[in-house]
């Protein structure tokens, strides 16, 4: 294992690999540090290729060890060539990273697998999280597989399927009267007062490393090269930051050739504090109270906001927002052109991709990868009212000919 220490992203102070997440000196976020020894380039690629078809093929770059009996084998999801959507948008090399193809149908399985492996290392018996839905679902499932108790905290008003799907694994599901930001604050306070393993709080440095695999896989699947641009949905910004870190790490260690990836962040207009700061050309992200159909992106106070701004600007990317209307349109556009049904976070991603493409902000020959992080099936409320009712006919040829025939040739 290559992980050696934790270090503060802000002041550099180093710590042991403990279940801690914040710098004692400056409150900055802690990040895992690695020592890869002499392993570079071809040697690392060979090791990856000999690994399993899951995030664990990138074991050399992860801070925890795979626990075989706990493994739901997340990741290594399909990278789809999006020809029909690309043609619609004037993009000739568009790809979709389909993370709906995960054990609990969202990218959260990657980060939760890492958090659970950390739980094992630190010997906690209860695992917890603050979630807008997908994270709770993943924690409940992975905890069940591991035989650990799970207590997951969600705000009120989440999509029904996310609540039901999470409950199916029989965790303790706690619905907090408030927004996600309230739940997040509460879980921070719980972590301060009690010795609990909270995946996205005190296990955060280990948890968040799992998102680097979203970059690693794309690089591998493109034939060991980085794309020109990625479009990534942004709530806290943590995944966006880790995807960039993944591409940067692969380049630094010679796994792929140097190439700047234009990091493009997609936010919902109804919770777009980072997009607002980007357009205002400022560095300060002002918190908002979210109001958006994209509930999984409803984090009004994204702590990684400044990092997202910095990365988007210096890589020649962008931060853009999509309205609720554009989001739902984009869910339908993606489904109709590529046969992929995503939840609003994916709609925000495609909505922003569309906006930028139609504005001429993306070169037609750019290799672009849009990350589809969650499945539409868990957020039916977002599109239900927009969809046509089934055609109803009697079981007769006459009824068919009257009501259906023209539709097939329309």
């Amino acid at each position: 294992m290559g992980a050696t220490a934790l270090a503060c992203r802000e002041c550099g102070r180093r710590y042991a690999l403990d279940p801690i997440f914040v710098c004692e000196a400056c409150f900055g976020p802690l990040e895992v540090q690695y020592d890869h020894g002499d392993l570079r380039g071809e040697a690392l690629r060979t090791r990856i290729l000999s690994g399993p078809a899951s995030i664990w093929r990138y074991q050399d770059f992860l801070p925890v060890q795979r626990v075989p009996e706990w493994d739901l084998a997340p990741g290594y999801t399909p990278l789809l060539r999006a020809e029909r959507l690309g043609r619609t948008l004037g993009l000739n090399n568009l790809y979709l990273k389909n993370d709906t193809r995960n054990p609990t149908w969202s990218f959260k399985d990657r980060v939760v697998a890492c958090a659970l492996a950390a739980v094992r290392t630190f010997d906690f018996t209860v695992v917890s999280c603050a979630s807008t839905g997908n994270l709770a679902n993943a924690v409940a499932a992975h905890a069940a597989k591991a035989g650990l108790r799970a207590v997951v905290f969600i705000p009120t008003g989440l999509e029904r399927a996310k609540v039901v799907a999470t409950s199916a694994y029989r965790p303790t599901l706690v619905e907090v009267e408030g927004t996600y930001d309230d739940v997040n604050r509460l879980c921070l306070e719980i972590g301060e007062e009690h010795r609990w393993a909270i995946a996205n709080v005190n296990l955060r440095p280990y948890y968040s490393e799992g998102a680097k695999t979203l970059a690693f896989e794309v690089a591998e699947q493109l034939g060991w090269r980085a794309p020109d641009r990625v479009v990534v949905p942004v709530a806290s910004g943590n995944m966006f930051v880790k995807i960039q870190k993944g591409f940067e790490e692969f380049q630094r260690l010679g796994v792929i050739p140097p190439h700047t990836v234009r990091m493009t962040a997609a936010q919902a207009e109804g919770c777009g504090p980072i997009a607002t700061a980007y357009h205002a050309e400022t560095d300060t992200v002002v918190p908002v109270i979210p109001s958006t159909v994209a509930k999984s992106l409803a984090i009004g106070n994204p702590a990684d906001g400044p990092y997202v701004l910095d990365i988007a600007r210096r890589t020649g990317g962008a931060v853009e927002a999509a309205s609720d209307e554009e989001t739902v349109d984009a869910i339908q556009l993606l489904a109709e052109t590529e046969g992929l049904f995503t939840e609003p976070a994916g709609g925000v991603t495609i909505g922003v991709l569309r906006k930028l493409a139609l504005a001429g902000a993306i070169g037609p020959e750019e290799t672009v990868v849009a990350y589809i992080t969650g499945i539409g099936l868990k957020a039916l409320e977002a599109v239900e009212s927009r969809l046509a009712e089934p055609v109803r006919i009697k079981p007769t040829l006459a009824s068919f000919e009257e009501r259906v025939l023209q539709l097939a040739t329309a």
């Binding site: 409150f27 979630s131 806290s236």
Partner: protein, 91 residues
Amino acid sequence: MAVRVRIPTPLRQLTNGARLIEVGGADLAQAIDELDRQFPGIRARIVDEQGEVLRFVNIFVNERDIRFLGGLRTPLADGAEVSIVPAMAGG
């Protein structure tokens, strides 16, 4: 006005391990000043020289983010609960 302040782990080394401190103060700025009188040096870990809250620190008064209230000028009623929390958000 007596208010209770929740102290996060990184600052407990300054409060001799205490996690809940009672202070007086009509507003948050005054409460922080009072905290600093009791535990010298703690103010500098919460606000910068310009008197702005440090970037990675969030402060809540009765569970509400002070950025939606009056910032450091947020008035404090008797019995109010002030929570100082590292800025870490997101799943």
